[in-house]
């Protein structure tokens, strides 16, 4: 057999039977069959099982008496107290008070922050006036001025709104400002070249261009708001989740304190989930990030649903 016989001539297509066999050639090394469980299935399984194992260990240790249940009550004990507090309405009372405080302060702070942020990003005049003030006051921990806020606004709700608002203003302002500054100059050139008005530059170029950064700022400041409200309620409140945690500790109702901690975690999860949803709605133009294990599936779905380009 001459070497030529093994080669497919460019001008003819051979039927499969005629193709020479590859048995005597070395196979590709990673050509092992499919594994019993997919990588993804194993990862999902582990992420569910690990916390369960930890909780069981905690429960077991509490029952056997290896840990002091005065300080570390068993998970089932905490769950029982949680259920009682839900039924009595005590939990909802504290939670709702904290949620309202966050929402009022957050709404006010974020609107002001986004507006000033875009303004500073677009106008060098606004930047000259505001940037030094923002930079000088930003590093001050906002919780440190809580006594001042209580002095000004009293022990009532206003001081809570104010501390949340001030916290949120800085984070959204700085993220929005950076977002606007990071918009590629080409888009501003296009805006100017087509004669866009100031209003169009604000709403059609700057704000959507900065949107990913704005949302990141909103997301971070929501997390920090939770932190700040709990801390503020430790010292200056007679209700709220922070009060629940601190007061339970003071009166040695440790299981109630754990319920408070559990609730802050739930709120944190819920808001993070809410923001993921918001991102999908507010930035439909961003290329979806697909995790490796889902990539193959997603790609095949996209290619089967997407219209093909007409032949040029």
């Amino acid at each position: 057999m001459t070497p030529m016989q093994n080669e497919i001539m460019p001008d003819e297509v051979l039927p499969n039977e005629v193709l020479p066999d590859a048995d005597d050639l070395t196979p590709l090394e990673n050509d092992a069959g499919a594994p019993l469980f997919s990588r993804h299935a194993v990862e999902t399984f582990l992420s569910i099982v690990t916390p369960l194992i930890l909780l069981s260990a905690w429960e077991g240790a509490a029952r056997i008496g290896w840990i002091d249940t005065n300080f570390f009550p068993s998970p089932t004990g905490v769950m029982t107290t949680l259920w009682e507090m839900i039924r009595s309405g005590e939990l909802w009372e504290h939670t709702s008070v904290s949620i309202v405080r966050i929402l009022v302060g957050y709404a006010f702070g974020s609107l002001v922050g986004i507006f000033i942020g875009v303004l500073m990003g677009m106008s060098s005049l606004a930047r000259a006036v505001l940037l030094p003030i923002v930079q000088a006051t930003f590093p001050i921990p906002k919780l440190a001025i809580l006594p001042l806020f209580i002095l000004i606004f009293g022990l009532g709700e206003s001081s809570k709104y104010a501390i949340i608002a001030v916290t949120v203003v800085y984070m959204t302002l700085i993220n929005t400002y950076e977002g606007v500054r990071d918009i590629s100059p080409i888009y501003l050139d296009v805006g100017h070249n087509y004669g866009a008005s100031r209003t169009m530059m604000f709403f059609d170029v700057a704000l959507p261009g900065a949107m990913p950064s704005v949302l990141a700022g909103l997301k971070i400041s929501m997390g920090v708001s939770l932190l700040v409200i709990v801390a503020a309620e430790f010292v200056g409140a007679k209700s709220g989740i922070g009060f629940l945690i601190w007061n339970s500790w003071q009166v040695f109702a440790v299981e109630k304190m754990y319920v408070g901690l559990f609730m802050t975690a739930i709120l944190g999860f819920a808001t993070a989930w809410g923001f993921d949803l918001l991102e999908k709605i507010a930035i439909p133009w961003r290329k979806p990030v697909v995790r490796t294990s889902q990539k193959h599936l997603a790609r095949s779905v996209v290619s089967s649903t997407q219209a093909k380009a007409p032949a040029p």
Binding site: V190, G191, N193, Y194, G195, S197, M200, A309
Partner: protein
């Protein structure tokens, strides 16, 4: 070689072939930059008349100021000295206001990622105050012209590089400017896509008859597209030569026919002969730095 008629005099002043009023007249344009306190001369002694409805290509070595000249024409940068005047079209634009003077098609991705294809193409019309229904109708017309009908509501991330530049071209044509300024719009595309888009650009342009100034570093592209090719010197950019190709390649043009003709090779050689020394000078400077 009688097929190529040189129309520029030795001084670089471009002598118009006909008595038509020029669309753009540039006299003594000069541009200096300051980079870290060091003066850099980008452009010098640019004298040029651009005819109405002409497709003018500007070629030159990297950094010769061809993009700078385009940005000055677009009003995105100021000249250091010199004068540019336009023969404005007195007829009103789409909203009764004067027509837009120019629209730019940029080299890099310049369509807004946050707008659908339709909204991107309608952007220039929105800026002119064209009512919503009207501007979307006009945008749809141009979406058909650039063959993106099935991608009307798609976002840029869903488009290929060639499609994005199609949107950019449609946006520029849709705003109905008097002059189109293009800065290497196809430079980032692969060769095959480039040929397809050149043919489409020729087709759309031939149907509108707008004045086009087109910057490119590709000799091939200049031959295929241009009525006249303006060759610039190494920095500071001056006009070295202007080559007329209207007799050689009459309109309407076929990209394939031009590329396979004997005149194409002759023209390529002629442009390269003028460019070669300038590119060599640029290389020497780049190495010295």
């Amino acid at each position: 070689m009688n097929i190529v008629s040189k129309v520029s005099s030795a001084s670089g002043i471009d002598v118009p072939m006909t008595k038509v009023r020029p669309k753009v007249r540039i006299r003594g344009a000069r541009k200096e930059f300051f980079v870290r306190g060091k003066k850099i001369e980008a452009l010098d002694a640019i004298n040029l008349d651009i005819q109405p409805g002409e497709f003018l290509c500007i070629v030159g070595p990297s950094g010769c100021g061809k993009t700078t000249l385009l940005r000055i024409l677009a009003g995105l940068e100021q000249m250091t000295s010199g004068r540019i005047s336009f023969d404005r079209d007195p007829s009103p634009g789409l909203t009764g206001r004067p027509r837009r003077l120019n629209s730019v098609v940029f080299q890099e991705q310049s369509i807004f990622p946050w707008m659908s294809v339709q909204k991107n193409i309608a952007f220039g019309l929105k800026a002119q105050g064209v009512p919503r229904a009207r501007r979307f109708a006009i945008a749809d017309e141009f979406i058909d012209k650039v063959k993106l009908s099935q991608f009307r509501d798609a976002y840029p991330y869903q488009l290929s590089g060639g499609m994005k530049q199609r949107v950019s071209i449609a946006r520029a044509f849709a705003s109905d400017p008097e002059i189109l300024l293009m800065d290497e719009p196809f430079a980032a595309l692969d060769e095959q896509t480039k040929i397809v888009l050149q043919a489409e650009l020729l087709r759309i342009w031939e149907s509108t008859g707008k004045t086009v100034v087109y910057v490119t570093h590709s000799i091939d592209e200049a031959i295929v597209l241009a009525d006249r090719v303006l060759i610039m010197t190494n920095r500071p950019g001056r006009i070295k030569d202007v080559i007329d190709m209207r007799q050689c390649f009459p309109r309407p043009r076929q990209v394939e026919a031009i590329k396979s003709s004997a005149d194409y090779g002759a023209m390529f050689g002629r442009i390269w002969a003028a460019l070669r020394d300038e590119v060599a000078a640029h290389e020497r400077e780049a190495n010295a730095r």
